[in-house]
Symmetry: C2
Subunit: 376 residues, 2 copies
Amino acid sequence: MTTPVLAVSRRTRSTPFTPRVEALGVKGYTVYNHMLLATSFRGVEQDYHHLKRHVQIWDVGCERQVELKGPDAAHLLQLMTVRDVSNTQFGQGLYVPLVDEDGGMVNDPVVLKLGEDRFWLSVADSDVWLWARGLAYGLGLDVEVFEPDVWPLAIQGPRAEELMTAAFGDAVRGLRFFGFQPFAFRGHDFIVARSGWSKQGGFEIYVDRADLALELWDYLWDAGEPFNIGPGCPNVIERIEGGLLSYGNDMTRENNPLECGLDRYCYTQGGFDSIGLAAVEKIHRKGIIRKVRGLRIDGDPAAVGTEAWAVHDGSNPIGQVTSAAASPDFGCIVAFAMLDKGFWSPGQTVRVNTPHGERSGTVCDLPFPKPEAKQV
Amino acid sequence: MTTPVLAVSRRTRSTPFTPRVEALGVKGYTVYNHMLLATSFRGVEQDYHHLKRHVQIWDVGCERQVELKGPDAAHLLQLMTVRDVSNTQFGQGLYVPLVDEDGGMVNDPVVLKLGEDRFWLSVADSDVWLWARGLAYGLGLDVEVFEPDVWPLAIQGPRAEELMTAAFGDAVRGLRFFGFQPFAFRGHDFIVARSGWSKQGGFEIYVDRADLALELWDYLWDAGEPFNIGPGCPNVIERIEGGLLSYGNDMTRENNPLECGLDRYCYTQGGFDSIGLAAVEKIHRKGIIRKVRGLRIDGDPAAVGTEAWAVHDGSNPIGQVTSAAASPDFGCIVAFAMLDKGFWSPGQTVRVNTPHGERSGTVCDLPFPKPEAKQV
């Protein structure tokens, strides 16, 4: 098996932070929303330990914003999601499953309400702007849909709040989870949110000024020195431990939000205009036939590549593993599996065909129950 | 500058041919339509020489098909493009610029008419299925839009016809450019078209049976042995020489089809229902303000990375280079440049800021005029 390099071009867009990412020795990239996203610096496991103990700065410029702007912006947003967004408040982000008319997942962005008629959808890896524009055109809605140049920068890790307080003052501490407010840097107000794609705590800064991007990066880096700041990126081990599903990996257009465990973001009783609502209500009534679960797998470390691992009960196929990584803190392989009805109860054991052979797995809830404290 | 590896996951989908691509020593990948696409095997320049002299087999499974099926399929297709598609014939593919209501390029697929109510769009790198579905839903059209599992496999190079004739018989020779018809393999009819993303001649097989994919690959490989078959992929040097623009690199949603030199695929006189037609007609009336041209650049080899190169006239910016590669056969760097009005006449000289410093460039038509025959 070779380990091919990523051949870049304009089509695999860089971000204003790419020079720092390169200088800090990025070892792996993926492409996300047609843009570079680092996958490791000192190695996935070393990055993981650092993320869980200190603080990291992440170039997540690939979390593209899709802006909805105009009198029908709120209406279009509601049409796209099965979550009731009528009470969305300025200053409070909202996780919303985007669902098509068949109940299939289109994306799972965080929505920021910037004004009565203005929203940002911080999207996962699919061209949501095309879906939104198609709907807006077809329905004759009075709304602009576009992708503004905004490149999120994340500060993640247990010492993220200390760093951000040092950088922006005590007001940072007042941010609730998913809450956001503007903070000034070099005379420009940047939106800062308490959010990010780890369970270690942290913040995301919505950088909408390319000319200030490197200055901001360096300012945060300097502010982070006392807290042992390091370069980082979404970490596959930590995200699985934390139960963070990845669109395209653990859920696709083939999945509905209920089987993805997103029940609490679906208002299946309805009462609002949503394209996907009828389909999701129907699935809810009939009951789902498969469900995402955690899986602890014994044996050798291994990661899921481009192909899911088959799960079976000894003889018949009962599901598939969509992401997996060896967890040092849990002492096993942690994984997400989409499991058939009858096989998703916590504690059940299943068989998994890994690249290293067949292994035993134990079903568990998500997020993974924390392991016993270990000596470090 | 590091050369990071591509970290793969389910989100960067493999194809049924990936095992052969890996076994043949792929050196670089990119991600295209959320799928792996090889970028070199023996090195871009060695691949180039081989492609122009012999024949190659390419895994272009990333050319995803978007299927439009149902009574309104033809209507939806026409809405999405500014090319008149009313006379599309079964058996004849058509290159169509997809354009939004602002005249911006959404994609540039080849359309295959499979039946009166059934089309495949063989798409470049954007989620066209989301655009098409959004329009269909919003306009209440009676059409299904989905991405069937079809993975094109290409045979490209001057000896492609010999190979394909050996594999499928003399009927292959009857295919016109972009023409297609079914050919049987192991009892299954595969659509075969005379097309492909090189100017060396060749064919694309629309592989809609994953279980036959490797068998077909091996069959073609064996048939190609007398013609010195090798592994290959779209080659950046050859495609620039041949004037093949790449969506995402040389044209984006920021560009209209007229400035991309796609005039001959735009019926600006209209007479049919198309979302982008009014915008393109308006641009046509006012005249374009920039245009894609070829550029021969002197000096050291270099390739455009994620950032375009600035073009200027000695003092003022006049455009940008979007793709570039050192051409052994042309003895210079060949490039695509989007140039401002007044600076796009063939023969004009411009200045280009390359990573190796400022260079002189000469504007030329596309495709590049063939160089004098060289001794090989």
